[in-house]
Symmetry: C2
Subunit: 595 residues, 2 copies
């Protein structure tokens, strides 16, 4: 399964980077690759029609759009544009009507990133450059856009910040440790800044999360990053990749996948990863109860953010027992501190609840109409702040599906694979420990939604991001974003909005200052994806030598004891906890702590 995936997946991606014969020599170097053949796929998904290196006499007359770095400018008449694939000469228009284009191209510092559109024309006789693969042609520019400016390029190496929960590896230098990466996020962004254009890796990642069910300390990501791409480019790429690599014994994947805003996902499914294989959506029924006399509903609706919400369990009255409903109410009370009321609008079976009876009498018909309630439908109703009310009903919705399926109903067809993009997440969330301050909803490199940039200075909490999650049958199987490529914007978000110490990320900010292209990416969790595709009950079933719940590898007996002499080259010793002495001797350890 894995290698099949990998193969189809690589095939889908290979051509774009397939001809890279010169690889980077340093994180900030932009090596050139002068390809002699047209590779159409190299411009799929991104904001260009061609790469800089591929244009020839055969393209004469074509309208093209190119993205790249300004390598050289001569007398404000010509400039040489460069991307990972080569160089091309661009003619700066001199007529008055194109003054704004000229201004952009002439004022941009060297190594700035620009997008130009224009026509492929012949160079005047005698001006061909036989040493340059594109030397017979040049681009007559009609429009241009400055994508990013560039400071004078340095090649310094700066400090790097550590993420939490990374496994540490002692080195042979006293007191110095390596870390196992949780993800190559900053590295892949720096590759884009370095001009690598497209990056793809089957990345083994490591995360020390202690004991968590259905997580593994070692896992595998399909990790992707591209320059000059927008959210729709990344989504198309992933859709094509999944379609192409999908097992042939299953129904084909239909693309494009539907998408849903985070706001809608929360409002209708109570979660950011909705299982869209079945309905039972959350309905806002606040308006039905504006004039209610039921106390707890009155209380809820009198508050500024107060709402009344409900889900309807079709055939619930037929399949669910009283104890099922009670266990659902207990779950809501225990885990969400929320009161949930079951009502049977058509079954007249409200278990001696005067409140429910009273609701029925007042709002029965309106509820039936609004929620399209059929015979035997059961409504679970709650009240409170929007997010909280939705969350509890989202959880109960899944619990109800489990209960009904245990009774023989099929709500979630096992042959159905329901992909969904969830988009327009908030860029920031209030900090849990201090709701007056903001933290990144995902990570601080996520770009804000273009429509909301003006809100960054006025209402940052309202800003949506360009983050996207890919959800399959209610499981998050991937996520990514368009990244910030503008150093000033990045600095503003880090320093002013997030109150972070920008020194810790100075290496990234500096990289953005030096001609960072617009870029974005995504990572798919390969283990979880394969687990879902194969219908395995746990990701442990699709990993060759999975770790146990406690993080043990039962095959190799890792983690295992090491004699002190094997720790010596790494300049570490074990700090035995005081209460482990008894355990140690009972386990008959082969050695004792030295101290």
């Amino acid at each position: 399964m894995f290698s099949c995936w990998l193969s189809r997946l690589c095939r889908g991606l290979s051509t774009p980077t397939g001809r890279v014969t010169h690889l980077i020599q340093g994180s900030l170097s932009r090596r050139l690759m002068l390809s002699s053949q047209r590779i159409p796929e190299l411009s799929s998904f991104v904001a260009r029609t061609n790469t800089c290196g591929e244009l020839r006499s055969s393209h004469l007359g074509q309208e093209v759009t190119l993205c790249g770095w300004i390598q050289y400018r001569r007398q404000n008449i010509f400039l040489v544009l460069r991307d990972f694939h080569g160089l091309v000469q661009v003619v700066i228009p001199q007529d008055e009507s194109a003054a704004s284009v000229k201004k952009i191209l002439c004022e941009a510092p060297m190594e700035s990133v620009v997008q130009v559109s224009g026509t492929v024309i012949s160079r005047p006789p005698g001006q061909e450059n036989p040493k340059m693969p594109t030397g017979e042609i040049e681009i007559k520019v009609k429009s241009a856009q400055l994508l990013n400016t560039c400071k004078k390029l340095p090649f310094e190496i700066k400090d790097f910040v550590k993420g939490a929960k990374e496994f540490v590896i002692p080195s042979r230098e006293p007191g110095k440790f390596y870390c196992l990466p949780q993800s190559p996020q900053q590295f892949k962004q720096l590759l884009m800044v370095g001009g690598l254009d497209r990056y793809f890796q089957v990345a083994r990642c490591y995360r020390d999360e202690g004991s968590r069910p259905d997580r593994q300390p070692e896992f595998t990501q399909i990790d992707i990053e591209m320059s000059f791409v927008d959210q729709f480019g990344i989504r198309s790429l992933i859709e094509g990749l999944l379609q192409y690599s999908w097992p042939s014994d299953k129904d084909p994947v239909v693309v494009p996948f539907p998408s849903m805003t985070f706001a809608e996902a929360l409002a209708s499914y109570g979660t950011d990863k909705p299982d869209t294989r079945f309905g039972m959506k959350i309905v806002d029924i606040s308006d039905v109860f504006r004039n209610t006399k039921v106390g707890f509903l009155q209380d809820a609706l009198s508050k500024p953010q107060g709402t009344v919400k409900a889900i309807c369990i079709s055939e619930g009255a037929k399949y669910l027992k009283r104890k099922d409903i009670e266990s659902l109410r207990k779950l809501a009370a225990d885990h969400f501190n929320q009161e949930v009321l079951p009502v049977f609008p058509k079954a007249n079976r409200n278990w001696n609840s005067p409140v429910a009876k009273s609701i029925m009498e007042e709002q029965r018909s309106e509820l039936i109409r609004l929620m399209e309630i059929q015979e035997d439908g059961v409504v679970l109703l709650t009240a409170g702040e929007h997010r909280k009310a939705c969350s509890v009903l989202g959880k109960l919705r899944l619990e109800c599906a489990d209960l009904l399926e245990a009774r023989g109903l099929v709500l979630r067809d096992p042959a159905l694979f329901s992909f969904l993009w969830v988009v327009d997440f908030p860029l920031f969330l209030p900090k849990e420990e201090n709701p007056g301050e903001l933290e990144s909803a995902h990570h601080p490199f996520t770009a804000p939604h273009p429509s909301d940039i003006h809100l960054l200075h006025t209402e940052p909490k309202q800003v949506r991001s360009q983050h996207y999650d890919l959800v399959l049958n209610g499981n998050e199987i991937g996520g990514g974003s368009i990244r910030i490529h503008d150093a000033e914007l990045q600095r503003y978000i880090l320093a002013t909005l997030l109150k972070e110490d920008v020194k810790l990320l100075s290496h990234l900010l500096q990289a953005l200052d030096f001609g960072a292209p617009p870029h974005g990416g995504i990572a798919l969790g390969l283990d979880r994806l394969i687990c879902l595709v194969t219908g395995a009950p746990s990701i442990r079933d699709v990993i060759a030598f999975p770790k146990s719940f406690r993080g043990h590898d039962l095959m190799s007996n890792a983690p295992d004891s090491l004699p002190p002499e094997e720790l010596k080259p790494y300049h570490i010793q074990v700090s035995w906890p005081a209460d482990s002495e008894a355990e140690k001797s009972s386990l008959n350890q082969p050695y004792h702590p030295e101290s």
Copy 2:
């Protein structure tokens, strides 16, 4: 480049394992995958014509060879054979002439591994099994071979032995450490024992070698293992893979690659990784000097293993200076303690060496004839034990090539990619510290050459192995072997010949005891291969964020200091070397050792 390789490489491999929808649930479980379609590639390279799961009525009358495990046997008339792809019913022949086949199939314990050849026939009417994909047919067996026997299957987990030089990772359990694997060797062998049939991984490996030039602590292998395969199957697979994935802007790879025995590689090139892009082969000229009066040649030839060897540098007299020859002689003296004599058989320019003059007068014409010496040819001659004389001339051959190319001659065409299989390595070598004892030339799981098995008990030093190396332009880019699948043979080699404590490898021995299939594999060093293909000067040039010579990641500044509170969850503390105190304070570390 990398993803291009990966892609083509995966495509070459994908179909065989592409349909594995049920993955292993434990290292010893053999999960079934009942595929409904014929996948011809699944039987390429291996000792079967078909998999057990694929035969249908459409195959009636075909002669087939199957490999698998005995799942079930009924009244010594039928047995059910199983492999990773499914089950098939086999009819045991009852006639006298097939007594030996019957004996094999009836006496083999359940779960033993067998190969059977026979004809696909219809089941008698009424005996079809519609629940079994192969239920319409059965195999009328003509011949059978027991590939391995099986003890009663357990599912115990045994201790695992640690390799040296692995990075260690402290865990949250006091005194317990993970290791980063140097290679998945034992794991992939156990997957084959578990019935996985074919394994492929782009494996990230880690090796703490301290500071070594052109090695990286983190590197990538294309790692492959297959059941029921022999050396030629693995070699064909790799040849096809390289041919398929070869960059299209280079001359196509011609397959099959030539192969050379280790003995020939040593005798002609003085190394186990010959650069076959150019000649200058080592020639044994002992016979020319049988009656020599030159003292050091006489001395050498009087010893039992004594030889005289030479290489001829064409045009050497024209391109090499006296100081070049002197530096070659010094290299031989300094690094090999070997005397090397330059002679100019046709140039009469022996730099006042009376010995060389004397050689010339006596053996000149014979030498010219034997070594096909042209005008300006220079002979470098040495004498001594075969292996040592070859090694020094092998080294000088490469040095001479460097010298001549520095003078403008082209010996090694940069457009030429010269692949070579080196085979028939010795299985054992004398231990360096105690030449009376043996150690494995590669690793103790390597199978002996089938022709030499009888020598294991009498002359183990003479036994050749089924190890193979793939060499490209004088660089080892891969290696692998057919593994031992017979527990008794493995035990004999470990305990009797290698004097190892078999308890440390009891998990592997037990696995072999329980129906291990014949299997073998290979690993290609992806970084080095890409480095050679792209003509990069170092593997650092084809790795995105390479480590420095000292193992530092200059981008992330790893390894780096960690505050003690980050070490606390891992129950370790730094043991500061006494002499590092001064350095520490001068570096202004953010913390101090606690003890």
